[in-house]
């Protein structure tokens, strides 16, 4: 799904400011943690900048559904179950979970979000 140029541009600016990365590093496919080096505290900063830039409210649980990732109904042997994946898709329709689905280890969830995912999330909030 294509994201608007305006949203991408503002998200890119927020990430450059919060993470100290160069604009050419913030590509749509770049992952927040693996490629851009975001650490947990950076997400507080990123969320703040997105809220300010777009006039939206971002709940941490939207981006990190901790309840799903820690509940035994949805996680077995360190992997998210089919029911858990279905729940994640329901809660995060803006996220591309296709790669994660192939080997849904909970420990890999942190590196799931891409810049495109974040843009689509923002678009869902301003729609």
């Amino acid at each position: 799904m294509q994201v608007s140029e305006e949203v991408f541009s503002k998200v890119q600016a927020a990430l450059i400011d919060a993470l100290g990365v160069d604009d050419d590093e913030v590509t749509p496919q770049a992952t927040m943690v693996g490629d851009l080096g975001a650490e947990s505290i950076d997400f507080l900063d990123i969320v703040f900048k997105l809220e300010k830039s777009f006039g939206i409210k971002v709940a941490t649980e939207d981006l990190f559904p901790k309840d799903i990732l820690t509940e035994s109904t949805y996680v077995q042997d360190g992997k998210v179950t089919a029911t858990g994946i279905a729940e994640l898709k329901k809660r995060m329709p803006w996220a591309d979970l296709s790669k994660f689905e192939t080997n849904p280890r909970v420990q890999d969830f942190g590196d799931l979000l891409t810049v495109s995912d974040l843009c689509r999330y923002v678009e869902s909030k301003i729609a």
Partner: protein, 190 residues
């Protein structure tokens, strides 16, 4: 060395803003040791002073139980050196506060002129980092009194903020030495 880089609170509004002052003295070791022959107040200590001002501001609600640590210096711009004899005003304004942490914008002035602009992020540590606070409650209470925080602290409606009961209780249970220091910190000049 005591690691306090603020001297006194002169303004404190819960979860909103706080201002502290810091008097820079040539008698302080880091002033001359940082760059011998060119005494000035190191930028790192300006950041620390703002972290202490902002950190106490964002952790006050709930009785200073929040385990608050400086997690990120997002912005630090310094315009002019601060030298012995200067009185620094450090103002922290809360930009955002969530269960996981908070962001403050800091402005440092001397004689009404902006000397530094900061943006700091604080993380609130959860119980994985221990169930008790980072500092003994009675010790922190003594420090807060010395910093005159309760002399100026108010909530958003202008109501005075008093020392939390759990800290007063910790003080009552503390060894006698704390009773002595409490008497000193509460004594007023004639």
């Amino acid at each position: 060395m005591r690691w306090f880089w603020i001297d006194r609170f002169i303004e404190f509004v819960r979860n909103t803003r706080a201002t502290t002052i810091k008097n820079v003295s040539f008698g302080e070791e880091p002033i001359d040791d940082y760059l011998p022959g060119h005494p000035h107040y190191p930028h790192s200590l300006i950041i620390e002073g703002m972290a202490q001002t902002g950190g106490l501001l964002v952790s006050e609600e709930g009785g200073f139980r929040t385990k608050t640590v400086l997690a990120k210096v997002s912005k630090a711009v310094f315009h002019e050196l601060i030298v012995p004899g200067d009185q620094i005003f450090l103002t922290a304004v809360v930009q955002d506060k969530k269960p996981s942490g908070a962001i403050i914008e800091g402005t440092v002035t001397v004689d009404g002129q902006v000397r530094a602009e900061l943006e700091l992020s604080f993380a609130f540590l959860d119980d994985r980092f221990g169930e008790t606070g980072l500092f003994p409650a009675e010790d922190l209470l003594r420090t807060l009194r010395i910093l005159k925080l309760f002399d100026v602290a108010v909530d958003q409606n202008g109501n005075r903020i008093h020392a939390p009961e759990h800290m007063l209780e910790a003080e009552r249970q503390a060894p006698q030495g704390f009773v002595h220091s409490r008497a000193i910190s509460q004594s007023k000049p004639a």
